[in-house]
Structures are given as C-alpha cells and as structure tokens.
C-alpha cells in the first residue's frame, strides 16, 4: 500500500506533464483500437463464415455464371446436405450513394443454410409465399425507415429496369458478427423476368452455396464437386466459405497491411513519448533514488518504483483509450456503415490494446530503470542542492 501511495503521488508530481502524457496515450490507444477494429471489420465476413458451408463458383471468375442444372449434380455428391444458389443483383436504391448488398437467392434453401439470419416464423412464411417479397437486415431497414409491407424499388444495373419488391421480413443476426445490412429476394422472380425477356442470364446462377454433412469433410466434398464438372464448359472452383471471403479480402491486402503498419507506428510513437516523460522524471529524481539507496533500498525496489510509475501512467491512459474506443467506434461505424456492415470493437482488439499498454509501460521504463539502478550513491547525492 505504501509503495502504491508513493507510485501514485510520484506519477502526479508534475500534473500537467502527466496529464499530457496520459492524453497522448489515450489518443494512441484509441487510434490503435480503432485501426484494429477497422481491420477486424474488413475480416467481418470471414469471422461470420461457417465451416460447414462451401461456395461453388466459376473457376474463371465470379462474374461468369454457372448453369442452374448444376444444382442437382452437386446435390448428388457424397457429403452434400443442402444446396442453395444466388446471384449478385447490384440494384440501386434511389441513389448510388445508398449502396448495400442485394442478392437474388433460392429463398427456402438459403434460409435453411443460413440459420444465423433470424426471422420470425410468420415473416419466413410471408416471404416464401410472396415471389416479389424480400428480406432486409435490421440495420438496413432502420437506415431507410422500411416497414413490413413497404414496397421498395431497386434500379437494376446488371439486370436493367426498375424492380419492385415488398418487404416481408426483417432479420436479426444471431450474434454481433452477422451482417444486418443485406437485402435478398427470390431468385425465381429474377429468373422468370429473365426468361420473359429472353435473356441469356436465364437459368444461370452466380454461385452455389453448399451445406456439408460434416465440417471435417468440407475439403473432400469441395474436391468432389470440382471433379464432377471437370472438362465441362463451365468448370467450377469450390472452396470453404471462409476461403471464399478471404479471396475478396486478398484483393485489398496491401491496404490492410498499411493500416496494420500505421497501427504499430502509433504505438512506437507513444512509446517514445512515454519514454521521454520517464527520462525527464529520472533526471529530476536521481538524487531521490540515491537517498533511497542510502536508506538501504536495493536496485530492484527502485526499479519497481520507476516501472510502477510508468505502468500507472500508461494504464490510466490506456484505460481511458479503451473506454473511449467503444463510443468512437460506434460513431465511425455509423459513418462507414455503407462499407463495413459490421464495425464492432472485437475482444481481440481490447487484448491487443492491453498488450500494447503493458509494452509501452515497460519499454518506456527500461532506460531510466537501468540508469537509476546503476548510479553510484555518491554521484546521485552530488546532484542534490
């Protein structure tokens, strides 16, 4: 208790300097936490992906579609439990700035395959019955003020024309990693319209979502599916949902690396700031450390005082930084909701914040501690007066 008292009083001996250092640490930890959250948000889809789902797409590119007839062949592959399919619709709601993901899916199998999208039984029934019905995520419906029964018109970019849909359900995510900004409607509705128009896009699926009987057989099933369509006109590439999501992220890997680098640079800068504060403290207190040694205090006790003071300053700043990360991430998340549907402060980011705080506190104290332990008492006492 006595030592803690000394540490706290020493830490606030120069109030302005300590408060400015704490402010610096708070801002650094806040920035670090936000950047880590940003990176996590980028990987949000990967986090939410299931180990028991595969995605089958054209081996050439995602923009090439696959024949609808593949669904029956995929279903016959050993280890396959459920098959669903979908297509990226790319519709625009009123203005292009109102971007959100919208897909045409085989509704029944899709809802079966994605139990993390929580819909009430009434909403599910209403959606399945209405071919022009659609389901929106809670955040998306809230963003545009949509209510059940509202008609929403999307302007097609890939599929030309204005498309009217009726909101039949608003889903919630099973947990906070689930994207609640999606819009999905019946693939049958889209396909009928394509057939009517005589489009080559009729009876074509953008990709297949495949549920496997056992997650440990995912790789084996994926290979079996691709083998089925080998040497066909539309060869497939089947991978786990996670790998599928990661393939999107790999396109922006350089940006993520840059963000990661910046997050660590922020920590290095704040280490330098705290180290400077601790060095100033050491220079001012050389005489006091000599007094402690005179009284019989050994080097490790003095080291404890310096490291302890550094840790107190750092942990106060870090605590404030961590606490502030949540509301600030909330604000940033709202601002970036078009691009990052899930922008939550991950538990991992908090652990990294704490690890960074401890590293800052320890590294900043290394040089002052070394010097104070090494200094000869007589030399230290000469600095007084």
């Amino acid at each position: 208790m006595f030592i803690l008292k000394i540490l706290i009083r020493n830490a606030f001996r120069h109030k302005l300097r300590t408060l400015l250092t704490i402010l610096g640490i708070t801002v650094a930890i806040l920035a670090f936490g936000l950047l880590r959250t940003f990176i996590n948000a980028w990987y949000g889809g990967v986090e939410a992906s299931s180990a028991s789902r595969l995605v089958t797409r054209s081996s050439i590119s995602l923009i090439f579609h696959l024949p609808l007839s593949y669904k029956d062949k995929i279903r016959q592959v050993d280890g396959v439990k459920t098959v669903s399919w979908g297509t990226w619709f790319g519709g625009v709601y009123i203005d292009e700035k109102n971007f959100f993901a919208n897909f045409a899916v085989d509704a029944k199998s899709y809802l079966e395959l994605y139990p993390e999208f929580l819909l009430s039984p009434e909403e599910t029934t209403a959606f399945l019955r209405d071919r022009k019905g659609f389901v929106a995520g809670r955040k998306l419906a809230k963003r545009f003020g949509w209510k059940i029964g509202d008609t929403v018109t999307l302007r097609g970019t890939i599929y030309p024309g204005n498309w009217d849909f009726v909101l039949r359900g608003i889903y919630r995510g099973r947990n906070e990693t689930i994207d609640e900004t999606q819009f999905f409607f019946h693939w049958d509705y889209l396909n009928e319209m394509m057939k009517k128009r005589g489009s080559a896009r009729a009876d074509q699926a953008g990709w297949y979502m495949v549920g496997v009987t056992r997650p440990d057989r995912a790789t084996e099933v994926a290979l079996a599916i691709d083998r089925t369509f080998k040497n066909s006109l539309a060869e497939t590439l089947t991978e786990t949902e996670k790998a599928f999501q990661l393939s999107f992220i790999s396109m922006s890997e350089t940006i993520i690396m840059a963000i990661e680098l910046v997050s660590f640079v922020v920590i290095i800068i704040i280490i330098a700031v705290v180290a400077n504060t601790m060095s100033m403290t050491y220079r001012e207190r050389i005489g006091e450390y000599a007094i402690f040694k005179t009284l019989g205090y050994r080097g490790w006790r003095i080291a404890g005082m310096i490291v302890g003071e550094s840790m107190i300053i750092t942990l106060i700043g870090s605590f404030l930084g961590i606490v502030l990360t949540f509301p600030v991430a909330g604000i940033v998340g709202k601002m970036l909701s078009n691009y990052f549907p899930v922008f939550n402060v991950a538990e991992e980011a908090i652990y990294m914040d704490l690890a960074a705080s401890i590293i800052i506190g320890l590294i900043a104290a290394i040089v002052p501690t070394y010097r104070s332990v090494r200094i000869r008492i007589a030399d230290g006492l000469r600095r007084i007066g």
Binding site: I6, R9, E288, I291, G296, Y297
Partner: protein
C-alpha cells in the same frame, strides 16, 4: 570506550580522464563508541568522501573500514544495502526528504525494509518524531515545513531504526543561526542521552564546538586530534 569505527590505511582517488586525483591518502582513524566527532577542513579536503566511505556510500581504493567489527569494504552491494539500513543513520545538508511523502511517511521509509508490523512501525515513527519534537507536524509535507523542521524530520528518519552510527554531512549548512543551534542541540542530546556515535562533517566552527573530538583534513591527509569539552 572500544572503537566502533576503525579506518585502516584508507586511500581514495577520483579520476579525471586518465589522471588520478588523490582525495584521501593513507587515512587511519579510530572512532570510539558514543563519540561525537567533527571532521573539518576546507572544501575539497576529502571530508565528505571520508564520511561517504564510513557510511558505505562509496568504495575505498585501498585499505579497510571496520564498523562494529564488520569489514564493510569486503561486503557486496546487496550486503552493503542491508548493512546501511540497519547500522547507519544519515543526516544531509539539504535534508533530502521525499517531497511527496509526509513527515511521518518520510520517517517510516527505513522501517519498510524491516519486518516490523504496521503498528510497530507507527510506534517507532511516533517516538522518533517525539524525540525531535515534531509530533504535531507529522502530517505535513516537506514543503509545508521550515528548513529547521525538515532537518529535524531528517534526524528522526536517521534515528528511527536505532542505528549504530549517525553520519551528518554539513547538517547546519543550509539553516539560519537559530535553526542551526536547535539542530546541533538535538544532535548533542542524542549523543549525550542516547549515546549515539555521531560523525559530522562541517566547516562551521560553531557546529564543530558541539563535538567532543575534532579531526582536520588537509589535502587528503588527516591532521592532529583535538579533544574538547563541548559547549
């Protein structure tokens, strides 16, 4: 009285670049238990260096120093730290109190290294502050005390562990006449009533008057013994 401090052929030099500057040359000195010794001499004569060596704050180049029968020049740094905590009380010119601690807490500092309970520590601290007549100011911080009061706190801190010797480096050097006289009377009382061995460095003749033995250092050499009846 048997000697409590024995200094045998001690020499000490400081280095300036490659050049050794002798500060103490072949010093021999015995200090009896319960003695009040004043070390006098001009600036740079080596008196503070000698005091630092006796208190194990610095190392000899050659020779030996025995305190209470222990050769302190043979002890390691850790052993010296323990030895100082038990055997030496320090009184400095600039008091050297820790500014963020109250008078009580400053006096308690050396006791934290002992195995005493909190209650026992409190008793010791209160007694030490009573001896220096500062009981009522125990909750004051150094900045709230006068120079004389701060030096009395420093004396309380020096005696709280009941050390074998008290070393004082210019204890009145930063005080006005009245405060200086109070401090010297207090040290005199500690010597007379508690039989504390006191070794004091000073170049103030009035301070030296309180000592029973005066030794003079000149350019690193110890001169004649001068015994006196203290005033």
């Amino acid at each position: 009285m048997a000697p409590i401090v024995e200094i045998i052929n001690v020499s000490k030099s400081y280095w300036r670049g490659n050049r050794a500057i002798p500060v103490l040359v072949d010093i021999n000195l015995s200090i009896a238990e319960g003695e009040f010794l004043a070390l006098m001499g001009p600036s740079g004569s080596g008196k503070s260096t000698l005091l630092n060596l006796i208190a194990a704050l610095d190392h000899v180049d050659s020779g030996a120093i025995q305190v209470g029968g222990i050769d302190i020049t043979a002890l390691s740094e850790n052993e010296l730290a323990e030895w100082r905590a038990v055997n030496v009380g320090f009184i400095f010119q600039f008091y050297n109190l820790i500014p963020v601690l109250t008078a009580f807490e400053n006096v308690e500092l050396p006791l934290l290294l002992t195995g005493l309970s909190r209650r026992q520590r409190n008793e010791h601290v209160e007694m030490a502050l009573r001896i220096v007549n500062l009981e009522e100011r125990m909750d004051h911080y150094p900045a709230q005390l006068s120079g004389g009061e701060q030096q009395r706190v420093a004396i309380a801190r020096a005696i709280v562990t009941d050390p074998v010797i008290l070393v004082a480096d210019e204890p009145t050097g930063d005080l006005d006449k009245v405060a200086a006289r109070e401090i010297l009377e207090l040290m005199d009382r500690l010597n007379r009533e508690s039989h504390k061995t006191i070794i004091m460095v000073t170049h103030d003749p009035r301070a030296a008057e309180k000592a029973r033995v005066i030794r003079r250092l000149e350019k690193g050499f110890l001169n004649d013994v001068h015994s006196q009846d203290p005033h």
